[in-house]
Amino acid sequence: MFTGRSEPGGTGRRLAALIGATAILASACGGTTATPSTGAPSTSAAAPASQPATSPSAAPSDAGYTGPEATISYSIWGDPQEIKNQQAIVDAFHAKVPQITVKVTVSDWEPYWDKLQTSIAGGDAPDVFAMDGPLFPDYQTRDVLLDLKPLIQRDGYDLGQLADQAVADFTTPDGQFGLPRDLNVVALYYNKKMFDTAGIPYPDDTWDWDKLVAVAKQLTLKDASGKTTQWGFYTESTDMENFWSELVWQSGGDIISADHKTSLVASDQAAAGLQFLQDLIWKHKVMPDAAITDALGDAFEQGQAAMEANGSWLVATHLAAGLDFGIAPLPKGPAGRATSINPTGAVVYKGTKNPDAAWAFVKYLASPEAQTKIMELKASLPANKDVLNGPFATSFDGAKVLADAIAYARIKPSFKGYNDWTTELQTELDANVFTEPKKTAKQALTDVLPKLDAILASQ
C-alpha cells in the first residue's frame, strides 16, 4: 500500500493523499503546454484588506455571539472519519449560535495546500482554516493570517486553558495567529499478544535505547529460509516527526537553531540519533527497510511488528485494525526522555469579512464541548487541558501515557522554508541512510548541511 506522502504521516492523511492525487491529476493531465498555469498575473499580491473592524457592539463572552448573521467558510484536510467529526462539531456550533452558519470544505493533504495558496492569492481564502504547525511560519510571515490578540484581550479569553506548547506554536512577537484545535504526540505502541507469547514484560517508562534493541531482537522472528516473519520494531523514517527528531533530542542534539538560521542536524549528538535509526534497520535488522515498508505499509498495523514508535494519530486506526495493543513512553536516550508534539491550529484569514464570527467559531473549536468530540475520534489529542487531563486520560488504554507525554514533549520544528528544507534533508537521508546504508548518518548530514543552510539563508 501507499506510505505517507504527507509531512506528518498519518494513516488517515495517507489514505486521503491517495484519493487526493486524483484531483491533482485531473488538473495536471489537462494541460498540454509545459507551463503550470499560475493564474493571471493580475492576481499577484493577495492584498487581503485592512485589519478587521472589530465592531464594539459585538460579543463579549465565550459562548455568546451577538453580531449580525454571518456565513463563514472553514477549510480542513482530512479523511472521511475526520470530516464527519468536524461536521458534527460545526453542527453543534450552529445549534448553539444560530446566527452563524459554517460551511466546511474538505481536501486531501496535498491539494489542501495547493488550493489554500491559490485561494489566498486570489483574495478568496476561507475565513477559518486548519494550519499544520510546521507550515505556520510560511503563512504567518506572509501576512495572510489575522492576529487574534485584540479579540483575545477584548473577550478576556484565557489561553491558559490550552496546552502551552500548542498555543506557543501559533504565537509570534507580533501576536497570536491561531488557536490549537488538536495535537499529536509520539509514543511507543506494543502488541500485547506478541509480548505475551514471548513471555516478555511490556515496555514501561524504565526503557532506554539498549533495552529497545535487546527486546526488538528477541521479538524479531525468522522462518527456516531466513525470511523475517515478525519484526521487533517498526517506525516511519520518511518524516522527522514519526521518530527521528525524537531520537535527535534524546541523544542531546537539536534540529535547527532558535533563530531558524542554522541547521543543527549535523552535530555529533544529532547524528547519533539518526544513526540509531539506521542501525535498527541495517545493523540490528529488527525493523523493515523502506522498500519492504513501501510494499507492506505499517507493519505494526498488519500484525507483523511487535512495537511501533509513531504518532497518537494512529490510535483509531490501530483500534479499527483489531489490534490488542498498549502504549508506553518512548524509550530514554543517552540524554534523557523526549518526544514530539505537533498541533493543528485553527487560523483566521486576514481578509475575512466576518472576523467576529470567525473568532467565535475558532473559540468554539477549542472549547471543552468541541474538544470532547475530537477526543472521541481518537485521531488526535484534544488541545484543551480540561479535556486532555480529564476525560481523555481515561478514554482508552494508554491515553494517559499520551497526555503525560506533553510534559516532556518538544514542539515539532516550525520555520519559514520548512518544506524546502525538509525535502532536501529527507531526500539525502532516504537515499543514503535509510533506504540503503550507503553513508553513515554523520556523513550524510555533513554532506547535506551546506544546502540546508543555503535554504534557510534564502528565506
Partner: protein, 303 residues
C-alpha cells in the same frame, strides 16, 4: 500532415477569401480558448519567471536570477537528466512496441475487436487505479513480478526503491499505459494504405518483409511522425506517473522537471523559480519539436 499543403493553398487565395472566411469562423472558438487559457498564462509565467514571488506577497523583480540559480541547482539538473532519460527510452520503445502491435492487430481474425479494446483499456483507466495495480506488481515484498522471477530463481528486486531500477520501472508502466493511443493511430494509418499498392507489390514478387519495408513503412511515416510528436511532448511533461508511483516522494532517481516545477511552486513558495523552470522546459520541448519537424523532410513521405 496534410495541413502543411492546405495552408499553402489557403494563403494563395487570401486569408479572407471564401473558404478562408469559413475556416476563420470555425477556428475562432479554439483560437480564443488557446489565447485565453494557454497563451495568456504562458506569457504570465514568463513575467513571473523574472520575479521572486511566493504567491502570497507582492512579487519582486529579480531579472534573470531564477534562470541563473537553476543552472547551478543540483535537484533541477537531476530532474532534467531523469526527464531526458525517460523521454529517450519511453518514446522509441513505446512507438516500436505500438507499431508492432498495430501490425499484429491489423488482421482479420476472430475477436479482433475485443483484442483491440483490451489494448485501449489502460488509456481510459485512471492513472491512480493503474498505479495501484503496478505498485502491487512491483512490490518488493511479495509483488507479482518478484514472485514470477522467483520461479526462475532470480532474487527479488526493489523495483521502485532501487535507484537504478526505479525509473525503468516507471517507464515500463508508462509505455504499457500509453500503448493504446499509439496503436489506434497506427491502425488507422495502416488501414489508410491502399490495398492495391500492396497487391501490386505482391504481383511484382515482393515478399512480406519487402512489402513492409518498401510500401507499408514509407506510407506510414506521416503517422509515425505524428505519434512521435505527441509522445515526445508528452514524455517531457511526465508528472502523474511519478506523482503516484514514486512513494512517498520522488527521489533523486525519479524526480522529473514537471514534478520539480510543482514542488517549487506549491510546496516551497517559489513561484518565480518554478515559472523559470517551466520556461526552460518549454524551450527544450520547443527545440526538440523544431528539430523533429525540420527532420521530416528527410524521412517522412506524404502520398
Amino acid at each position: 500532415m496534410t495541413a502543411v499543403r492546405r495552408s499553402a493553398r489557403w494563403r494563395a487565395g487570401g486569408p479572407l477569401a471564401g473558404e478562408g472566411r469559413w475556416a476563420a469562423f470555425f477556428l475562432a472558438p479554439t483560437l480564443l480558448g488557446l489565447a485565453v487559457l494557454s497563451a495568456g498564462p504562458i506569457l504570465a509565467t514568463l513575467a513571473i519567471s523574472l520575479t521572486r514571488w511566493d504567491l502570497l506577497t507582492a512579487p519582486k523583480v529579480v531579472g534573470l536570477d531564477n534562470y541563473l540559480a537553476l543552472l547551478s541547482d543540483d535537484r533541477f539538473q537531476k530532474a532534467l537528466r531523469n526527464t531526458f532519460f525517460y523521454t529517450a527510452v519511453s518514446v522509441p520503445v513505446g512507438l516500436t512496441i505500438a507499431l508492432g502491435l498495430a501490425l499484429a492487430l491489423n488482421a482479420r481474425i476472430r475477436g479482433i475487436a475485443f483484442i483491440r479494446t483490451a489494448y485501449f483499456l489502460p488509456v481510459v483507466t485512471s492513472t491512480i487505479a493503474i498505479a495501484l495495480v503496478w505498485q502491487w506488481i512491483y512490490s518488493a515484498d511479495s509483488g507479482l513480478l518478484n514472485q514470477v522471477l522467483g520461479v526462475f530463481g532470480i532474487p527479488a528486486q526493489k523495483w521502485l526503491s532501487n535507484p537504478t531500477l526505479a525509473m525503468p520501472s516507471i517507464i515500463a508502466m508508462s509505455i504499457w499505459q500509453g500503448l493504446g493511443v499509439n496503436v489506434i493511430i497506427f491502425l488507422a494509418g495502416l488501414q489508410a494504405i491502399p490495398a492495391d499498392l500492396l497487391d501490386a507489390a505482391s504481383v511484382d514478387g515482393a515478399g512480406a518483409r519487402a512489402r513492409f519495408r518498401h510500401v507499408t513503412l514509407p506510407l506510414l511515416t506521416p503517422t509515425i511522425f505524428f505519434t512521435g510528436v505527441l509522445s515526445l511532448i508528452g514524455s517531457f511533461q511526465v508528472f502523474d506517473q511519478i506523482f503516484v508511483l514514486a512513494k512517498p516522494k520522488p527521489t533523486e532517481a525519479t524526480i522529473t522537471v514537471v514534478y520539480f516545477i510543482y514542488e517549487n511552486g506549491f510546496k516551497f513558495f517559489k513561484m518565480g523559480y518554478a515559472s523559470a523552470a517551466s520556461w526552460i522546459l518549454f524551450l527544450i520541448v520547443a527545440a526538440f519539436t523544431a528539430v523533429y519537424f525540420w527532420s521530416q523532410s528527410r524521412w517522412v513521405h506524404y502520398q
